[in-house]
Amino acid sequence: MGQSSILEVSDLTHDYGDVVALEDLSLQVPPGITGLVGANGAGKTTMLRLMLGLLHPTSGSMRVLGHDPQTEPLAVRARVGYMPEVDCLPKDQTAADFVSYAAQLAGIPTREAKRRSSETLFLVGLEEERFRFLGDFSTGMQQRVKLAQAIVHDPDLLLLDEPAAGLDPEGRVQMLQLIRRLGEFDINVIMSSHVLTDIEETCDWVVMLDGGNLLRSGPLEGFEKLGTVLVEVLDEAEAVAARLRARGFDTTVEGHRFVVGPGDATLEQAIVEEAAALGSGLVRMVRGSASLEDLFLRQGEDA
């Protein structure tokens, strides 16, 4: 794509009357697979609908793939595929007909739309079932059809609203693998989810929302470095912990051991310095990984 960011948001606010769905949001999202994380009501779906130009922001601006969805909604929608969270399938059509129709709605000529419909349903694992009526499909199969209709027209950006919602554990794993695979085909993805492990398994970048506010927008790969460190000393555990506490780190002492953090790479340096200052012998120092959930909860508390 050669674009530095697929989504640019600046000072964006959107309200539904008295309810503020998104408040003063500013962020940039690079190409790749991005997770939009937040609890129900955090503003994820509002964000996706703003990106499609289906809602208009109260203030601020947004650019999707270089276009403003408010002034050029059709230009954005021509390049974007959208998988809604809600049911969106006509029960009286076959999967092949519906996906082909979805391609034609995006401007693909009829013959090519039929061909791409077959290929896309093959890709999502529904080649055998493509001539069955959608009313006869299971939830997992319906989710796959929803994904197929979103990618059939070869979009540059895919917006997935809770793609694994309602799936059993096996279906969830398969759906996430499929999304990961789309990323390998250089399709940019922004997927919303309130299930943090789904985001951890699938995404390169994460945007965290809480009550319409931005908690964090950044790469996922650095998150584990923000974990806690388990420290075991020969003596003076309480004193070392107190000095670290004085430097702003959380510490919990259990006998000769204490847990410090979370913190970045400077944390280990601080532990060494304080232990040395008190002449306490360091037995071991182990960094634990931080889950996205830890980070989300922690940042939510801080906000």
């Binding site: 499609l52 289906l54 059709l74 230009a75 929608r77 021509a78 974007v80 595929g81 959208y82 809604p84 809600v86 049911d87 969106c88 399938l89 006509p90 029960k91 009286d92 059509q93 076959t94 007909d97 129709y101 979805a102 034609q104 709605l105 995006a106 401007g107 693909i108 000529p109 090519e112 791409r116 290929e119 093959f122 890709l123 009526f133 209709q149 990618i151 027209h153 070869d154 917006l159 789309l182 085909f185 399709i187």
Partner: protein
Amino acid sequence: MTDQVIFDRGYRTYDGPRTGRWGAKSAVYKDGIRRILGLRRKAMLKIIPWGLLSVALIAAAVFVGIHWAIGNIEESLREGIPTYGGLFDFYSAISLLFMTLAGPLLLIPDRSRGVLSVYFSRPLTVDGYLVSKVGAFVTVVAAIYIVPQVVLHIGLALIASEGFLPYMGETLDVLWKVPMVTLAFVVLNGAIVFILSALIDRTGIAAAAFFGLLIAGGPIAARVAEAPFQGARWASLLAFDQHPRIIRDALFEDTIDYPAELAGFGVWTSLAVVVVVVVAAVVIVRRRYRKLA
């Protein structure tokens, strides 16, 4: 043991032409026609539309046959058998049933099944979507009026005592009168069924409301119009099914007294009612869908 090969077609990008907004509208239009006629749907969904279409076509052929049979006995007796204008009543009954089915079917499932979220994530505006749906509706319903009339016209020309071409020449006015009356029927009834289908979220209830309004609305409006209070005559205009017939009678010079005519209104009032209902439909349906989008 044979060698097994796992063949993965992967994902293919698309670099071909894109038809843009026009393609999206065209897709909605074609899908609308398929949905009304039950094409590429389960067999059950084909029975009613194709049954009604068959009845309309067979009726046209039967009327030609009656004209031919009666004409063989006594040419003057054919005067009493209905032709173009008179047959509108018969086709209206069929098309009323058809519209009862088609209107709700075109609009409601897209809303109730959430398919609108797919439509409006594509390069398609609310107006584009609605215009395409109206186009599909008008195409199929107008065909129910016009195709049997064409069969009738050609049939009558073939059995005409003066010959095919002279008959066609003498009845050139039919070529504009039939489409005009068709337009009045389709536009007025279509506007009503679209309003109801936009406001009601259950296909069966919307269909019943439309059918009930047109069937029961006439007698009720006529009764109210006769009531002894000032301005009661205006209620006669609410018998919506009479207005296309009043327009038809004006064009085909038939004389049947409808409630509005008895209340002192003329064909121009009926035309005005058609226009008002259509404008109301445009405003109500657009507003409803703009909120949904």
